[in-house]
Symmetry: C2
Subunit: 555 residues, 2 copies
């Protein structure tokens, strides 16, 4: 059975019933069809949310075998609900573009899914398209200003860093020349399109406290320089008001349900390799305002999504997690231990052992934030007992809690052990969360802290472009912003080929970008893909609508 088959067999509750579980009546929510709703921002309650227990689900370094962090997050929330803890899972929205490529959905799997999965994976409530529109409106205003004779800011077209976005896998748009066709059709210049999830506005929306803060951040977007080398921000183009108007509904978190009829809040979807990789601050706070336990996730491995969750999201919003679940799979550990992708189904205790250092490093990293991690082994049918024992033995040696979670096949029932371990950590209150670095340190110090303490690098090297960018950052007085490293997710290092626990490597920063609106600095440490392509036979070839009007062939 595919995920879509399982999802289709599930009888959904009206979203009003789910809202009721959060203490919200039908009048207080805005319905989007029968099974989706937007939640009003005034339900965020700082007093209540401080009493909610926030649990972050993260993972070891991702492998092609898959770790199933979203599935674990959903399953854990079902398990906690079964254990009598009123729990909401808070997740990112999937990107539409990859649905037509090779990627499966991003709504969990098996009996740990959020529903209605076909809606969530397609347009959902329109948040991504609102972000896309706001992003491209700013681009149109920039090019219009280049064209204008009477309203010109004197922007040098060669310095414009603001590209356009589209939520599709469309490699032909990566590098384009626009403004062709003569004097009435713009100023020719080179630019490109990123996928919408990579928009700075996605990062901005996800870090904003409210509409006003959103507008301020949108105004702070750095656009480029004038011919006189004066920096230009979106506010100089008077663009932030209209952009905010386009985002007035997108800022409201979306309520849906898990396959077991528990509440799920899904909102915002930045990537974790180029941005902060976690859902909106508003959604997390909403979940915490309305429930005793809140489970959330951060993208890719702990070195990317986890580190950024703590140092950027928590530090900017005052959130304090009470527990961290580190997701691992036997298959992924075998891959880190040197096994071939096609052999991962076969038992290989040695490979699991050899893969442990990757797990170990992520555990150490979590502990650096003052938190006791809980290891979740996301069970696959092919796992054997010997292999699992390698991890449980390792955990008991380290005196760390561990549980096998069988959430794909069993839903919340499969997460009772994991849920109990998480509750124990929280109730012992052994967590004393502290971020890793102070935003007030120098840019180089902040980058070095992440590189050496989290990635395990020897030191950091800056290329010529990066050094020039550093100077620019200090000139623009943006050096007090936190760091959001753009790095491969496949390795703790900046080399995707170095699996396991790389040592003695040097983190090479090639360039540094400024996300002045989102409020972070992005050191680029490799070729980061911001506009994927479609495969030779794209998934779109199999997607269809049947005679009952139902979508088929999706995943």
């Amino acid at each position: 059975m595919t995920d879509l088959d399982i999802a289709s067999q599930c009888k959904l509750e009206p979203i009003t019933k789910i809202a009721d579980k959060l203490g919200l009546n039908a009048e207080e929510i805005e319905m989007y069809g029968k099974y989706k709703a937007k939640l009003p921002l005034n339900k965020i309650n700082e007093e209540k949310l401080n009493k909610s227990k926030l649990i972050l689900v993260t993972a070891i370094s991702p492998t092609p075998a898959g770790e199933g962090k979203t599935t674990i997050s959903i399953g854990l929330s079902e398990g906690l609900n079964k254990l009598g803890k009123q729990t909401t899972v808070v997740l990112r929205e999937p990107s539409l573009g990859p649905v037509f490529g090779i990627k499966g959905g991003a709504t969990g799997g098996g009996y740990s899914q959020v529903l209605p999965m076909e809606d969530i994976n397609l347009h959902f409530t329109g948040d991504f398209s609102a972000i896309e529109k706001a992003h491209n409106l700013l681009a149109a205003i920039i090019d219009n200003n280049l064209q204008s004779k009477t309203n010109s800011l004197g922007i040098d077209p060669r310095t414009v860093v603001w590209k356009r976005v589209m939520d599709l896998n469309d490699r032909a748009l990566r590098n384009v020349v626009i403004g062709l066709g003569g004097t009435t059709s713009g100023v020719p210049r080179e630019t490109g399109f990123d996928i919408t999830a990579a928009s700075e506005i996605m990062a901005i929306l996800c870090l904003s406290k409210d509409l006003e803060n959103l507008k301020e951040r949108l105004g702070n977007i750095f656009v480029g320089y004038t011919f006189d080398k004066k920096p230009i921000y979106a506010r100089d183009l008077k663009a932030e008001g209209a952009m905010t108007a386009l985002l007035k509904d997108a800022i409201k978190p979306n309520l849906v349900q898990t396959i077991e009829g528990n509440p799920a809040i899904i909102h915002g979807g930045p990537f974790a390799n180029i941005a902060q990789g976690t859902n909106t601050v508003i959604a997390t706070k909403m979940g915490m305002s309305l429930s005793d336990y809140t489970v959330t996730e951060a993208g890719f491995g702990f070195d990317l999504g986890g580190e950024k969750f703590f140092n950027i999201k928590c530090q900017s919003s005052g959130l304090k997690p009470k527990a961290v679940v580190l997701t691992a799979t036997i298959r992924a550990l075998k891959y880190h231990g040197g096994a071939d992708l096609q052999d991962l189904k076969n038992s290989n205790v040695e490979a699991v052992k050899k893969g442990l250092p990757n797990l170990e490093k992520h555990l150490e990293n979590i502990q650096k934030f003052g938190i006791t991690p809980v290891i979740a082994i996301n069970k696959f049918q092919t796992d054997d007992e010997e292999e699992i024992k390698v991890i449980t033995d390792f955990a008991s040696k380290k005196e760390l809690p561990v549980a096998v979670a069988d959430v794909w096949a069993k839903g919340g029932e499969g997460a009772l052990d994991l849920g109990n371990e998480v509750i124990k950590v929280i109730e012992k209150n052994h967590v004393d969360f502290k971020p890793l670095y102070d935003w007030d340190k120098s840019v180089e110090e902040k980058i070095a802290t992440i590189a050496t303490k989290i990635y395990g690098a020897e030191h950091v090297e800056y290329g010529a472009k990066a050094r020039a960018a550093l100077k620019r950052i200090y000139d623009l007085k943006l050096d007090k912003l936190p760091i959001c490293v753009a790095k491969t997710q496949k390795s703790l290092s900046d080399d995707p080929k170095l699996l396991g626990r790389p040592k003695d490597f040097i983190l090479k920063v090639r360039e540094i970008e400024i996300a002045a609106g989102a409020g972070f600095i992005i050191p680029i440490t490799g070729d980061i893909m911001r506009m994927p392509g479609l495969p030779a036979h794209p998934a779109s070839e199999n997607i269809d609508v049947n005679s009952e009007g139902e979508i088929v062939g999706l995943f």
Copy 2:
């Protein structure tokens, strides 16, 4: 008071109450927030809809003074409801892009508006962005096929006619080169972006009977040729299933309300100069299935939207209008009569008289379809009695019904006379609707019929590109499709400067495009703008969100 001020003061009814007026309960609709809903396609009832009276609102040739066709449509529906006829107004969705340029909203004006106007003018229920996504998915699939080694159809990149779309005024995207950056980033080629309303998918959605028919039309989209000169359609790329999946909600009509709390259905928004210029067939049929009287409009003057409404929309869907309202304003007639734009506020009886031939030609055109037109004089404060008398005298000489409608200031109350005239025409049952041409005629005959009978041209001339296109159309066996002329809206002729009733002109067809999916042939008779630009000071500079989260500065 601005339109937004008036709209803001209005207390909206919950959309469930509006649905109730159409005999639909809360379970039968899909809410999008509290004041918008999607209607299920199974409520279309062919038997019921044949009993509903369909009224088309059209206009004389548009001038910069504005005619207010949408305002008249809304006001007339309010008036008919006041006169005891259960009436629904069915309109097009506004395009988002122009909202940030200079254009006002497209949701009526004054006390004849549809609400919530700020939502309808911005993202509404996401239909436009679904169309944009489906359009651009096909473009991504085309470029992916050009790139592919294993799945190549051998498309010649120079022949690809399918562009991309974006719902913004962004002139810099009119002409672009994509696929730059080397072998991994696509095949370089020249293309461009149109505004989303100009997408063939907009035209397709608006002519589709149901999901199945939508999918068939999407599959029929003509994309370009292979190197062997074989035509390629979207179905050859297996794209139509995924495109249909993206449009599964967009195909459902949207229910909102008028300022007086009557139902309004708003769905689809093709332009009338390059496409058929009227809302979806599905929305019109939905309105007719649920109400005794249905008021709808077609874009620009009767020569464009009206002619296409009858020959394309009615002929393809079997709809039969019972009345046509021709909207005119004193100001526009003065402009057609030679008065300067800045003098239109001053009384000028002579100019009104000189402008009458434009009105007269449109009236004659309507009568060619077997329908007695009702003239609606859309009242402005600056009109004087003498000027109005010019039109009423003219109407009585022609024995045609006429009424002054003061719907901007008075809403439905201002349309009682107009409503009564319309009811009289319908109840006398003097209408014997017949289309102007048979789709089976040759392409040249069909074009000549429209040019000579509707526009008043002497004859038609074809340029070299148009002659080549004619051959292509016959080769592709697409010659039995109806004609959708792309022509300036400013004149009955193809020369925007010829106001009034141009005579002795030759219609010059420069090119002919094929909309094989929508199912029509588009003779191009001038420079038709498909991607507008922003003005030097775009309206976006004044749009904002206030501290209460309300949008301000919109129009």
